[in-house]
């Protein structure tokens, strides 16, 4: 599109992964309907998971995964130094993700349990922004490809992108999904940032809060609602702590 007489920029993208499941990267190859158009709009210059090419300079670095080892810290710093825009892709990169639950354990003990006499180096899990400054955070476990595409378009056209501020409930209602609380389950929908299209409640699973806090989330009221419906403190705290997006509340 050469609309308004502006040729969209051709940005060079690089994709890097750290501690995580690489599901967010996989999303870049998903949404097949638009995959070719997506690849036509950007130059992917480095993406180890799908390409052997490593051609140096890039503008935007998409980083998925959390940071949990010294070599990762080094690698991330290098990427930060080279990238014009550093994007944290997914809940692990934005909040630490599920890996963060590890921080509650004694790491030596954990090491002994898993590796016996061959312990491995490991640091407490950190989100990307706890190590280097981040320009943009795209939460989600996994990220929504539709949202990533929109953000990429905004990057190409250099106009700001506004994340939805409303909670997941709104989209649940718009999909005629029966409220999980009505089925006796716990759901973080009322306090979690929407925009994912609420796939979890639609699939019969409460929201686990992977996109972090909605703007102005009423956590106190949420807690009392959950308690009233016989969800215990432990269940609530575990849920809030799951992806790290409610860190200060779990």
């Amino acid at each position: 599109m050469k609309y308004l007489g502006i040729e969209p920029k051709r940005l060079r993208f690089a994709v890097f992964e750290f501690t995580g499941c690489e599901g967010c990267e996989l999303q870049l190859a998903n949404k097949e309907e638009t995959l070719l158009a997506f690849l036509g709009a950007v130059d992917v210059v480095e993406f180890r998971e799908v390409s052997s090419a490593r051609n140096g300079a890039y503008d935007v670095a998409l980083v998925d995964g959390a940071i949990s080892r010294t070599d990762e810290v080094e690698r991330l710093r290098e990427i930060r130094a080279r990238a014009k825009v550093l994007v944290a892709l997914g809940s692990c990169a934005c909040f630490g993700g599920v890996n963060r639950m590890k921080n509650a354990c004694d790491l030596d003990q954990a090491n002994r349990e898993v590796y016996g006499d061959h312990p491995k180096e490991t640091l407490p899990t950190r989100a990307i922004h706890e190590v280097v400054p981040v320009d943009l955070k795209i939460p989600g476990c996994p990220v929504s490809k539709a949202e990533v595409e929109r953000i990429v378009q905004h990057l190409l056209f250099e106009v700001p992108y506004q994340f939805p501020v409303y909670p997941v409930c709104l989209e649940c209602k718009q999909h005629f999904t029966v409220c999980l609380f009505d089925k006796g389950q716990l759901c973080l929908g009322p306090i979690t940032r929407g925009g994912c299209d609420a796939p979890c409640p639609a699939g019969g699973l409460g929201c686990w809060g992977c996109r972090g806090k909605a703007a102005d989330a009423n956590i106190d009221e949420f807690r009392s609602i959950a308690r009233e419906r016989a969800h215990g403190e432990r269940e609530i705290a575990e849920r809030l702590g799951f992806f790290g997006g409610f860190e200060e509340h779990s």
Partner: protein, 302 residues
């Protein structure tokens, strides 16, 4: 059953076939159709503001398009979004419309990159207007703060073009600093040719600044106001028009004779999306131009 459910196609309704004219509320049904318009010129005013001259491309549509000072348009950049923008040119100007736009977000950000020849969509005009008819034979105070000069330009042009209808005309304009002044190339013409008293004030002067320094209310200290024969139009941020109107009220100008233009979030311009609802009032339909008395009576208006 077949004829029972004979499909109804609204595009075949007679109103839909009439030429699009947003001035005929309730007759217009093709409400989301835009006028295709071309940006004919882009003038950089300041770091943050640009003036866009746009021209409705279809000759018949352009001829039919009329608006009154104070009304606004919904300006659409297909694919980016649609935003309300005051019309900043003379109502009599049939050739093109002028829109003065500050870079604030998605749509305005994209627009600021547009060049001559780019095509945008327009819907409108919408909303109420300044009562220029009623003001005839009176003194007129035109007071603007910052970007408020944009909606004020249409009434200024109206007054200039019908100069003999009005008595003393003052323009008071204030901004933060001298480089934020809009349309500074026009002040001289207004003063010298159009017999308008114009005074400009800034809060933070630079070394070259020779004019007064301070808040806009300061300019009101020296004017002679005959409350019975004066109308005021005040455009700017709420905090500014609140002080100005209070000051004018102290000077005896009735609140029904002061007019302000309110800004709200708008997603339709037609009283449907409810985003601009203030109390029981739709800013897009019952406003954006309100007399100050109504504003005082609107809950949370300012």
């Amino acid at each position: 059953m077949k004829q029972l459910f004979y499909p109804f196609d609204i595009s075949l309704e007679s109103e839909m076939k009439e030429p699009l004219d947003f001035n005929r509320r309730s007759r217009t049904k093709d409400v989301d159709r835009v006028f295709r318009a071309e940006i004919t010129n882009v003038i950089r005013l300041t770091e943050m503001e640009k003036l866009f001259q746009v021209r409705i491309m279809d000759d018949a549509e352009r001829q039919r398009f009329t608006f009154l000072p104070g009304q606004f348009l919904m300006l659409e950049l297909p694919g980016y979004g649609e935003i309300p923008i005051s019309i900043s040119s003379a109502p009599t100007n049939k050739g093109f419309l002028e829109l003065c736009i500050r870079r604030a977000g998605t749509v305005t950000g994209a627009l600021h990159k547009a060049r001559r020849g780019a095509r945008v969509g327009l819907r409108g005009p919408f909303g109420t207007h300044f009562p220029m008819e009623k003001m005839k034979g009176n003194n007129v105070l035109l007071i603007a703060g910052g970007l408020g000069l944009a909606p004020l330009r249409a009434p200024i042009f109206h007054v200039i073009q019908n100069r003999s209808d009005y008595r003393n005309v003052h323009i008071f304009y204030g901004t933060g600093s001298p480089e934020q002044l809009l349309f500074d190339y026009q002040y001289d013409e207004w003063r010298r040719i159009d017999d308008i008293e114009m005074e400009v004030i800034v809060e933070r002067p630079d070394p070259n600044w020779k004019g007064p320094v301070g808040l806009i209310t300061k300019l009101l200290d020296h004017v002679e106001i005959n409350p019975r024969e004066t109308y005021a139009i005040v455009c700017g941020p709420p905090i500014m028009f609140k002080f100005v109107c209070a000051r004018l009220s102290d000077l005896g100008v009735p609140m029904q004779r002061m007019f302000v233009s309110l800004e709200r979030r708008m997603h339709c311009g037609m009283g449907k999306c409810c985003r601009c609802n203030v109390g029981s009032t739709f800013t897009c339909m019952d406003g954006p131009v309100f007399d100050y008395w109504s504003v005082m009576n609107l809950k949370e208006a300012i």
